[in-house]
Amino acid sequence: MTNKTQRCYILKLVKTEDKQQILTFINGGTDHATPSSAELIEEDPNDPYEERGLIFPSGEINWNCPCLGGMASGPCGTEFKDAFSCFHYSKEEVKGSECLEQFRAMQECMQRYPELYPQEDEKVQEYERSSETKQTSQDSASAETSFLQSL
C-alpha cells in the first residue's frame, strides 16, 4: 500500500470550452482519498451469460477457458481432457494417483508434437513429483493451478 501523502500532485480543476468534453485533473492524495460512492450491480454467480474461469459453478471443467490456451483443442486435446478430468474428479488421497495411464497417454501424444508441447518431459516429471505430495479436497482449486503450471 503506497503512502499517498508522498505523491506529489498538483491540484487542478479545468473545464474545457467545449462543454461536451469535461476534463478534470485530480490530486490523488485528496480527491480520491475517500472510497467511491458509485454503486455497482451485484454479480449473479449463476448468470448463464457470463464468461467463466476454469471451473464452472457446477464444478465441471470449462474446456473453453482461455486460460487453457490450446490444450483442450489441439491434436492432444482428447488425451488432455481425459487426463485432466480424471485428475479433477479424483477423490484419492493423492489426487490423480489413479490417472497415471491417462497421463502417460497424454505424454505420449505430446511427444509426437514437440513444436506444440515443448519441454513436456520436464513438465510431466514435475507433475509426477507434485502428485506425490498430499493434497486435500479444499486445495482442489490450487491443485488445478499447480497441475496446469506443471504442463
Partner: protein, 533 residues
C-alpha cells in the same frame, strides 16, 4: 493438385436409393480415374469431384475463425473443423503487422514473422505452428477430429438450402454448421482508383501478411512515404515508419481530414496530444487534409489537396477503413446491414439456421450497446469464441464486452472498451503518471505479451519470470499522465478509455455492463484506483 477427401455421406432416406446406385457408379468411375492418376500423374478433372462433407465449416482463416475452431474443439469432443481461407497461410494475428513486427531487430523478420513482446518473450504471429493442424484428407478419418486448413481457396457460392458451398476450383463441400468469418478488404480512395496504373502500383492497401512484406521492402527503397488516414492503422503505421525514418533516409508523412490523430475516437484535447506524440516519432502530420487528386509525374506521386497544398511522395499507404466482405450474401440469401455494413446477425451471432457470422464481417445486436459492427482484434476473438460456443449448442448472446488497445511507443498507451466515438459527450479524469504507468511496465507486471484479455494464447498461470531491466525513469511532464475517459449516451457510460491505466479492464467492463446512470463520474473514476499500484 490436392486430392480432396471424397467420402460420400450417404443419406438414410428411402428416396436416395436411386442416388445410391448412381453414387456407386461414380465411386467405380472415380476409382478407375484414381488409378489412372497414380499411374499417369495427371490431375483429377474437376467435373468428377464429389461433394465432400465437414461437420463444421469455417469460411475465412483469420482471428475470428481460429477462435471459433478452438471453441468448437474444446466443447465438442473429437470435432472435425475445416477452415477455408483465400490466404496462402494458416491463421495469424493482425495487430503485430502494424506494430511489433516493425520494431524487430531481426533482419529476417519478414520471413520468420516473429516478434518480441514487451515482456521479452518472443512469439510468432501465427496462432499455432503447422503441426497443430491436420490435413484436409485426414480430417474425415481422424479418430479424435482436428482442425484442417484449406489455403488459397475462395468460397464463391453458398447454397443454404442444400447446406453446401462451392470453391473457386468447383469443389463442393457440405456442412452441418457453418461460420462466415470473411473479414474484409481495405477501402481504397476513389481519387486513387481514378488515377490509373502508375499511381495504383505505388499504393499499398494494408491488411495482410503479404502487405506487410511488400511495404517493408518498399519502405527501404524509397525516400518519401505518405500515409492517408488518421485512425488506428494509419497512426500505428505512421509511428512505425517514423521510427524507421531515423535509421534510413525516409520522409514519413501522414495526412487525414480530421484535426488530429484518432480524431474520430479521442476527445479533442487527447487527439491534439496524440498528434504531437506522432510528430515526435518523426512523422510530418498534415491534418485537415482532403485529397483532391493524385498523379504520377517522373516516377514521383503528386497529391493535390482540396485546399491547394501539394504533397510530393514516392509511395502511398491508404488506411481509410475496411469494406466488410459480404460476397456470399447474394448466393446465400443473407441480409446485409445498410448502416454498418456486414452480415446482419442476431445477439447470438446467428444469420440463419446453421449459419453464424463473427469478426469484422458481423453486424450483430449487442444487448447493452445496440446494433453495431466492431473491427478490433479482441472482438474477433470474443465473437469467434461465442460463435463456436453457439455452433456447439450454447445459445449465448454477445455479452462479454470486447476491448481494444493502442500503443504509441513503450511509454504511452491506452486500452478502451465499448463505444468510443468522439462525437459523444465525454468526461475525463486525469492524474500525473509515474514510470510505472507505461505499457511496458504493465506487461512486465502481468507477464502477458499482447494486451488483449481474451487473447487465445493466454494461460491461467503466470509464466516463468524472466529477468527484466528496470523500466526507464520517464516522468510524464504533460498533464495527461494517466486517467479515465467516459463516453456517454443518454447519461449512461457506453465507452471507457483507460489512458496509461492498465490491468483495470474488468472494472471498465463491469461499468458498461451495468449500464447505470451515474450521478458523479468522479466517484466512478475512483473505482479504478488509479493511485494504487
Amino acid at each position: 493438385m490436392r486430392i480432396q477427401d471424397h467420402t460420400l455421406t450417404l443419406s438414410l432416406s428411402p428416396a436416395s436409393a436411386f442416388c445410391l446406385s448412381l453414387s456407386l457408379l461414380f465411386i467405380f468411375i472415380f476409382f478407375q480415374i484414381f488409378l489412372l492418376h497414380f499411374l499417369s500423374g495427371d490431375s483429377l478433372p474437376a467435373s468428377l469431384q464429389f461433394p465432400s462433407h465437414t461437420p463444421y465449416l469455417l469460411i475465412g482463416g483469420g482471428t475470428a475463425s481460429f477462435a471459433a475452431a478452438r471453441s468448437i474443439r474444446a466443447r465438442d469432443p473429437g470435432a472435425k473443423v475445416l477452415i477455408v481461407t483465400d490466404e496462402p497461410v494458416p491463421p495469424y494475428m493482425r495487430p503485430p503487422l502494424s506494430k511489433e513486427l516493425w520494431f524487430s531487430d531481426d533482419p529476417s523478420v519478414t520471413e520468420t514473422l516473429r516478434f518480441k513482446q514487451w515482456n521479452g518473450k518472443e512469439r510468432s504471429i501465427y496462432f499455432q505452428p503447422p503441426s497443430f493442424y491436420i490435413s484436409a484428407e485426414e480430417l474425415d478419418g481422424a479418430e479424435n477430429g482436428g482442425v484442417a486448413v484449406l489455403t488459397s481457396k475462395t468460397v464463391v457460392h453458398m447454397d443454404v438450402r442444400g447446406n453446401k458451398i462451392k470453391l473457386d476450383d468447383n469443389t463442393e463441400i457440405s456442412y452441418d454448421k457453418c461460420l462466415i468469418a470473411t473479414g474484409g478488404v481495405p477501402r481504397s480512395l476513389q481519387v486513387i482508383e481514378r488515377a490509373g496504373e502508375e499511381v495504383m502500383k505505388r499504393t499499398t492497401l494494408f491488411r495482410k501478411v503479404s502487405d506487410f512484406k511488400s511495404l517493408d521492402k518498399v519502405s527501404r527503397n524509397i525516400k518519401s512515404i505518405t500515409i492517408i488516414g488518421g485512425g488506428f492503422l494509419g497512426s500505428e503505421l505512421a509511428c512505425a515508419l517514423g521510427r524507421r525514418s531515423t535509421e534510413c533516409d525516409l520522409e514519413v508523412i501522414q495526412m487525414f481530414p480530421e484535426k488530429g490523430n484518432m480524431g474520430k475516437v479521442l476527445p479533442e484535447y487527447l487527439s491534439n496530444w496524440t498528434t504531437e506524440k506522432v510528430k515526435k516519432e518523426g512523422v510530418k502530420v498534415i491534418s485537415e487534409a482532403l485529397v483532391k487528386s493524385v498523379v504520377c509525374k517522373d516516377e514521383k506521386l503528386e497529391i493535390q489537396l482540396k485546399d491547394g497544398r501539394l504533397v510530393k511522395t514516392d509511395h502511398i499507404v491508404a488506411a481509410v477503413g475496411l469494406e466488410p466482405n459480404v460476397d456470399l450474401a447474394k448466393s446465400a440469401g443473407l441480409e446485409v446491414d445498410s448502416d454498418f455494413g456486414g452480415f446482419r446477425v442476431n445477439a447470438e451471432l446467428q444469420a440463419r439456421s446453421n449459419i453464424w457470422v463473427a469478426g469484422d464481417a458481423a453486424c450483430f445486436y449487442d444487448i447493452r450497446l445496440g446494433r453495431r459492427r466492431v473491427e478490433h482484434h479482441d472482438h474477433a476473438v470474443v465473437s469467434g469464441r461465442l460463435a463456436g460456443e453457439n455452433m456447439t449448442g450454447a445459445n449465448k448472446p454477445y455479452w462479454h464486452q470486447s476491448m481494444f488497445w493502442s500503443d504509441l511507443g513503450p511509454d504511452v498507451g491506452y486500452e478502451a472498451i465499448g463505444i468510443v466515438d468522439s462525437s459523444l459527450p465525454t468526461v475525463g479524469v486525469f492524474a500525473k503518471a509515474t514510470s510505472k504507468d507505461t505499457p511496458k511496465a504493465a506487461t512486465e507486471k502481468s507477464g502477458t505479451g499482447i494486451r488483449s484479455e481474451s487473447e487465445t494464447e493466454d494461460t491461467a498461470v503466470s509464466p516463468v519470470a524472466s529477468p527484466t531491466p528496470a523500466p526507464p525513469a520517464v516522468l510524464q511532464k504533460d498533464e495527461y499522465g494517466k486517467g479515465v475517459i467516459f463516453y456517454l449516451r443518454d447519461k449512461v457510460v457506453v465507452g471507457i478509455i483507460l489512458w496509461n491505466v492498465f490491468n483495470r479492464m474488468p472494472v471498465a467492463r463491469k461499468i458498461i455492463k451495468d449500464g447505470e446512470q451515474h450521478v458523479d463520474l468522479n466517484e466512478v473514476a475512483k473505482l479504478f484506483n488509479i493511485h494504487d499500484d
